[in-house]
Amino acid sequence: MAEPLLLLEGVTKSFGDGVVTHVLHGIDLAVGRGEFAALIGPSGSGKSTLLHILGLLDRPTAGRVLLEGRDTGPLDDDARTALRGRALGFVFQFHHLLPEFTALENVLLPMLARAGRERPGMRARARALLDAIGLSERASFRATDLSGGQQQRVAIARALANEPLLVLADEPTGNLDTETGANAFEMLRRFNRELGTAFLVVTHDMRIADRCDRVVELVDGRIRAERRGGVG
């Protein structure tokens, strides 16, 4: 088997100093290149915590997180941030666009943060991404002037700005109505097909999970089951 893109080995996570809450218990998980996986589980099962550890936003209490075979544990925060900016993209449930910026600028921001300033081609790439999500005519709209579905599509475009290897999506359709949610999900699948970007989607919507290549079920901080999804 080829080296997995992201590999978790015996990851545990506890919170609190006095009263310690154990959220994750010995998680072993591999995400392959170009994979489209779902992470499901009841609320409180540790999905978000696991997602944050996968996304290098949080450190595990014990265990290792390897990105492209490289242990991220010894890296300092700056190195993890740089790695995150290069290799990972995020889509959050509540869209989380920056309201001070236009749709185009929101897509541009990860590229600017990484390069430090605007470089030739960045704006064209951001436009192409907006085009791909069908919002090119909304490029100069403020984030707050877009509908929920449009905001989520811009957030997806933003997650793809730096051509990440893996996009982590936390309930990307959770805050949208069924049709808009389905559209956003289709978009993720399309990018997965066309760009080869791997996706890990946290959801509690079984219809969405069923359409992923692989479904990982998390219960009480343990992986209970893994199965292949329906649609390829």
């Binding site: 941030t81 920056l98 605007e118």
Partner: protein
Amino acid sequence: MPFTWLVALRFLREGRFQTLLILSGVGVGVGVIVFLSALISGLQTSLVDRTLGTQPHIVMRAPDDVVRPARQGPAVAARLEPPAQRLRSILAWQQALSTVRALPGVTAAAPIVGGAAFAVRGLANRSVALRGVDGPSYARIIDIEPRLVAGAFDVSGTRAVIGTELAKDLGIGVGDKLRIETPIGRSDVFLVSGVFDVGNKDLNLRWVFVSLRSAQTLLDLVGGVSTIEVKVARIFDAEAIAGEISGRTGLVAESWMRLNTQLLVGLRSQSASSWMIQLFVVVAVALGIASVLVVSVVQKSREIGILKAMGTSTRQVVRIFLIQGALVGLVGSVAGVAFGSGLALFFASLAKNPDGSATFPVELGPGLFLAAAAVATVTGLLSAVAPARRAARLDPAEVIRYG
């Protein structure tokens, strides 16, 4: 534009009301600093100008006579009577004069023959201070010319220039004759060529300017001078230069600072209190900037978390807030300079002296403006340190989860 500048500017622009509030705060603070500085330095300059308008910066004279008891046998003097100080010439004064003129910081030096005399006309007489001067070189020490109310400053031959009070007391004016008598019994008749008003009643009565040669004859100081008066480029260097002059020439050299200690103490305490006020204004401005930025960090914690999640480094987050602080300081200071200058000019226009000059003169200049802008910018930058560190410490996972 660098990414950090873009985000900082956008945060400021979108926080309209807060930004306006904080800019006004900085503006008022800087305005107070500009106004106070302009007023205090204006007042001090005018005070020093008035004081030094009739005083040289440094006066050099021969050392005092001292008693040197002759030691003969075991006898010890029980009491030394200090000698009366007679009028004496500075030894080798030409040499001392050229030494002083060559010193760095000295702009002019002039020899003076000064002593007590009587101005007599008919039955009236007044005790006066006779000042024998060399017209052109003296004008560079104290410029009498612009203070003349009649005639010209001409002391050549047997011409004299007197003050308005003496002219009034003796009932004379330009073209009239005046007899000067000295205690040693010499006298001469002078033609009044000019009448001055130096703004000091006592000096307007007592100063009588004649030529060096006439004064030397009248005071029995032929070929000699009693004092050398010196002007320096920077008035607050006078004391140091006086020390240097003493060391080089062996003469007594006293600066205006030594002769006006009260004034100097007054100026210094005025400056000190002005500095204190300005310091507290700066502290208040800093606290204002810091508190608004801290609120902004709290308000924008979700955005900061997103920025971090998408790869913005801690250093970049810190920079975003430092830039905001510095920009607020700089832009606020521009408004403050305008406000403070306007206030100062308005204040100066309120009260006028009889001669039309401002009662409260103000000193505004690019130096003050630049200093105010620099202080405000640095204050903004420093005030942003705590908020920036707070933003840098934000845990993206936490603000995304709960934000």
